[in-house]
Subunit: 342 residues, 4 copies
């Protein structure tokens, strides 16, 4: 099989590193270009010693060059920047898989409200497909612009979409209390993220209005067939490198049982390689999924309060970012969806 | 001032170690007896090298001897055992401060339901005072049997009691999602708690029916003036040694604001040395309270969902166990409540 | 290509888990049997939820069955036990790759001195090849019994063998100060290894006479062409899951330079996929090699003291155990040595 | 007793925080001034929420004001800066306890070689006393300028000085392999110190020529009665917040035994509150000394190689910095040396 020629724009962060880890081991991929303004000219091994045996160098992001060399380009850039790059690539016929948040929101107002600026490429929004493959697989196959789903949203939407669709959970009163490892903040150099500030620490942040909130609510509303859903999403930072655990509490719409909830989720994901529904009585654990593309889900039901309690874990850098992006690439290029992800 | 003669029964676990750390530095305390069946005869430094310069040895728990030597005895024993020891000490006129769960529940049925056995000393229950000093200070002063509040309960009750009393939060729909460091499991030797199983891990457990649940619900009901409250309490294990973070989500009973919630809590705890209400916009962090007896509380209000969101942290071994027990001792013996705790 | 049928005896520890992780992803391997006395009958997902999607179960170790089913068997057993199992497998024509220490020492006296019992299968010793592929590749290819090199020894021998052979370091005064993550202790349930005893801790142990010492000295002596070498090897336990860092200090035999040392190591390992010599000025870091089969080496020279200082890191479960064992299997079966290891 | 009025210049780093923790609990101290250019005007609770209940604010460093208010000033500043501040304070009759490295080296050449600039106040050097109280207690009592000993040096010198003085270890071939928690790098915001770069990592750095090297060698030479000693000191960064473990390997000058080494150290430190010599067979562990001012020492002797192996641990922020500085203050002001340190 002819290899897919791949470019990665903004490859020097943690999502970039994870993407490169996956792509270097992907038998049908050849990485042609990796860019970083900061490290342009540096051999990859200087930035990521783990990749010292690879031969590629970082370059300045050169659009014409990428168009010449690549079939698909991953954008691992800050929001705002990603949208600017997407346009010329799409026009030139490349597939674009954006790991940033730029094309996830349908609403320009929400984008402005949560990201503090006008959307940089609103004309592209209608082409973008939300990159949660288990629920948008067919659209992904046809699209040239994938807005790969965010990390917290992936962990929350994966169990929530089937439960809302089944009507067993109310669209009101949904509460998602999540924990993320520190790589979730990116490779950001700030006092809050130095080791002694994070180790032996656990803290909530952005208890109201986290940037992932509108993305989660948008997709929950789609699943529920409603115009709008509002939830509480409360992220916490905990001392580990990789992983997200979301504990989600829903009002059951009627008397039910853990077995019933379990069977809805199991049926939905029976044929999915990357969603694991744990046996009843077991709860999701970040350590089960680290360095994998799997979303692992545990189910409980509290008959006293009529609440359904879901625990859902992913590796934020894999299923929550780069692994999911590769999964979308595999779909687009008609590969086995698991290629390079096991 | 004459020193208080203190005994610690079951001193070889983490609560025992923390209790000894505090008591060795307490200027009005003399530790007379520390017991451990496992380590009887061993110098304290063999079990806790940190205390090698101290001169005391572990002994078998000898009730007569403790009665002879001590004014107050701390019970740092598994539930069930504590109640058996309490009786002779109380009859002999000692003050008993129990760190176990044995005397926390008013209901014998709940005890049996959650602890799986009949209560070992039901005749003592009426004498027991719930050891949450900020809310039971006067009762503690008069009592000979303190059922020192549990770790998760302390973190949840401290913010919840004033909010329920003020009527600003509903008694329905309360959700407490908590995280605990691994010392919360005690010095238990089980595969689930070895380092590689806990590090780079985060997991919920006992999502339904944790043993601390009836204790929390009992005291919430007292605060609300109700017979009964049911809540969801979902504990998680996270990779740190010490600390609990409880994020609690309440339905507001009416339109309100973070400012209003903040002022209720600030007013309640204005004169308390061990409760810290953070300025608005800041969230509680375990690292702020480790090795202290402080409960730190952050406040948010989500006007979209009418939910009040509280983050509350303690050191599980200090305010959640041994520090709080010493605080009760200080009250009983008319000392400055902060003595030995700063 | 016909798949290699593989058995793993003693698959429920950390080395076993890592071996399964590698073998499940190895395109030329089919895992036929995994044994565990403790978990016999359990599906693999009950012991390692990470493998829930796999279909295999643990069974009692049944020698006849393994002989029927397998071409090669990995022994991930405690020392003593491994040697007993090896015999029937070898007689039946299977290849045996032993991850334990049972066949690493040439000297029965050393075995008895360090392991406290007579060697259980001395008649097999002459067949055993020391499983450090970079230095025993041709012997491994021909052998039916591989004594896969230990974790600390791999980290120390990889840089030391070429330096001794080159004569640039003295065989006297070698000091290896190593740090290991807690998985190095195996999945052992003991109070010393529970999370709160290891986190925020760092401690030396077995400062004299660690069991890996005779293995290291034996292979150093081979490299130096001497009957015997004595060194100081001082292991430490540090709070991380995976990885070993060995800092090794040698007396230079003559005035030299870091450049010279670097060129000796670079020349030796120029064609090796799994040894990385860092550029001068960089030091080895466990995080560069976690979840890889690479030994990464940093070089310094102190002209003031005439000491050569090497830092050498591996993942103790991969290059230090299961990855190295798979590397040997690849050699035996004429596969690309990197198969399944990248 | 009249309280000692204390100023802390540069109080916003980790050493500053630890100093404040100790001084707030010191019954004979009143903190009058804390300075920080960055946080001038901020309440202490904004920088260190742990101290929210304290009433002091950070101010710009105002020399005249500090002279007016204080009896003693601690300098917790970067090297270079400290020396500039010391001069006016000493001239005004204040006691100065410097936690930086500025006054530790007797040799201006070494200062320039290792710190890259001329010494900023060479005229003060002759007044400075090296702040290792166990060995310079009488000089500290009389001095106005304490160059408080560095963290790595404290861990290495405490066991080494008595052994060199006793002549049982050679001054040649001394090797110190140390590990430090990340707070040892200060509250420095750099990519190397963010959580995901340090967690699951362990790495050597500055294997040749660390800045603490000349300080260690200077004091070893004093102990040995020599003009000069050269050693190898190899520091490593490991994933914990607080603590240093130094493993030191010496050539014995003659046949000896662990018992003999142990008795030399035990005799030297028999009356010292802050040095703990472990029983033979036990090794030092960082967790035994965290949040204490103790240096804990373990002893081994390898008869095969004639090497004495010492493990020595401290809390880098307490005995390695601020606790030791308070110990010196207690000596200067004729207090019990343990005041505020237990």
């Amino acid at each position: 099989m002819k290899k897919i020629n791949v470019g990665v724009v903004g490859a020097a962060g943690y999502s970039g590193e994870e993407l490169l880890r996956l792509l270097f081991n992907h038998q049908f991929v050849e990485i042609k270009v990796i860019t970083s303004r900061k490290y342009a000219g540096d051999h990859i091994g200087e930035v990521f010693p783990r990749f010292m045996e690879q031969s590629i160098k970082f370059s300045e992001p050169n659009v014409a060059n990428i168009i010449n060399e690549c079939d698909v380009v991953f954008l691992a850039l800050p929001h705002g920047l990603a949208a600017e790059y997407a346009k010329p690539f799409i026009e030139a016929g490349l597939k674009v898989i954006d790991i940033s948040a730029d094309f996830r929101l349908r609403s320009l107002e929400k984008y402005k409200e949560y990201y503090g600026c006008d959307h940089p490429a609103p004309e592209l929004l209608s082409q973008a497909v939300y990159g949660l493959p288990e629920h948008y697989r067919n659209d992904i196959k046809e699209s040239s612009l994938i807005a790969s789903a965010g990390c917290y949203p992936t962990s929350i939407l994966t169990p929530s979409i089937p439960l809302l669709k089944a009507g067993i959970v109310s669209s009101k009163n949904i509460i998602a209390s999540s924990m993320s490892g520190v790589s979730g903040a990116g490779r950001k150099v700030a006092v809050d993220y130095i080791y002694p500030e994070c180790n032996e620490s656990a803290r909530a942040y952005a208890t109201i209005g986290h940037r992932h909130l509108p993305e989660i609510e948008q997709e929950l509303a789609v699943a529920a067939g409603l115009d709008n859903i509002v939830i509480n999403f409360i992220p916490h930072l905990v001392p580990l490198n990789r992983g997200i655990n979301s504990t989600i509490i829903y009002d059951a719409t009627r008397e039910c049982s853990a077995e019933e909830v379990h069977s809805i989720l199991s049926a939905t994901y029976a044929d999915e390689a990357f969603v694991r529904i744990l046996p009843l009585g077991k709860q999701a654990d970040i350590k089960h999924v680290s360095f994998t593309n799997i979303c692992e889900i545990g189910v409980s039901y509290d008959a006293r309060t009529k609440k359904i309690i879901i625990t859902s874990v992913i590796d934020n850098l894999t299923k929550g970012a780069s692994g999911q992006a590769v999964q979308s690439m595999n779909i687009i290029f008609n590969l086995n969806e698991k290629e390079g992800l096991l």
